[in-house]
Subunit: 142 residues, 2 copies
Amino acid sequence: MFSKACTYGIRGALYIASRSKAGEFTGVKEVASKLDIPQAFTSKILQTLVKSDIVTSVRGPNGGFKLNDEVSKTVLDVVLAIDGTDYFVGCALGLTECSSENPCPLHTEFVNIRSSLRNRLAAMSLSEARELLEEQHFRISG
Amino acid sequence: MFSKACTYGIRGALYIASRSKAGEFTGVKEVASKLDIPQAFTSKILQTLVKSDIVTSVRGPNGGFKLNDEVSKTVLDVVLAIDGTDYFVGCALGLTECSSENPCPLHTEFVNIRSSLRNRLAAMSLSEARELLEEQHFRISG
DNA sequence: ATAATAAAGGACAAATTAGTCCGGAATTAT
DNA sequence: ATAATTCCGGACTAATTTGTCCTTTATTAT
């Protein structure tokens, strides 16, 4: 479904959310080891989240990553930051001619499925996801 | 969404369906050029559709490909043959712990979205898709 | 039989995605 | 100031997906 980088990014964001309540920063090392994601790759992914303004980073001792605004930032934001709009645009069959005026046989169903996907991702803020995970003692690890 | 090979496969199957009504066979060359897909790649993809029992091929002059049973074969069959079950199984966030007993925050929504995707694909037979395309004079080309 | 046609299949090449390595820059503690 | 820590960024490698090429095999027409 999502690219690996993308699922890593979502899990990373959620882990950081769950760890940095008191304004603390979480380091890549910890994120990577706890989520069992290669460290250098985790670093890359968190860098793109920084550029997308989803997390903030500080260097040096006690540095690390912190969510920017877990209440307004959603899972969709992370998906868009890493995988872009792939899942939400274009004909699923790759038909250039396909549009709402001239829909392919699966057009309507895909519009519905994709918009419901998008809506659900947009409705799930990182803080809500974090809370739900914590409520059931969910391990975010791989 | 789907892999390129998969969308090529769907379009290929639909093109063959639209061309081989009178028991005729359609060649890769024609499929590839009409759909603007690389010929050798088209060949590979049609081969996997043959192995999956979705199309039948015959070699030699006037040979080519023909759908096996466009009424019972569905778009889902093509997707499964080429991309496998990727889109329909496993936690979208890559959480191994996630299951219906211990669902991640997005579990239920994903189950719904994916099953509706699967249902729509399973409900769309290749013949129905072909008819819908023909009714609106749809070009299947890229 | 022979030649022409067309799919099958294996080996290869290109592009994309996944993942690694390492030096540099910023921050903090001593 | 210096050393330790930690993120940044570029160049690299590995794996997968996409796509090519060429030889073989089956079928048909002459």
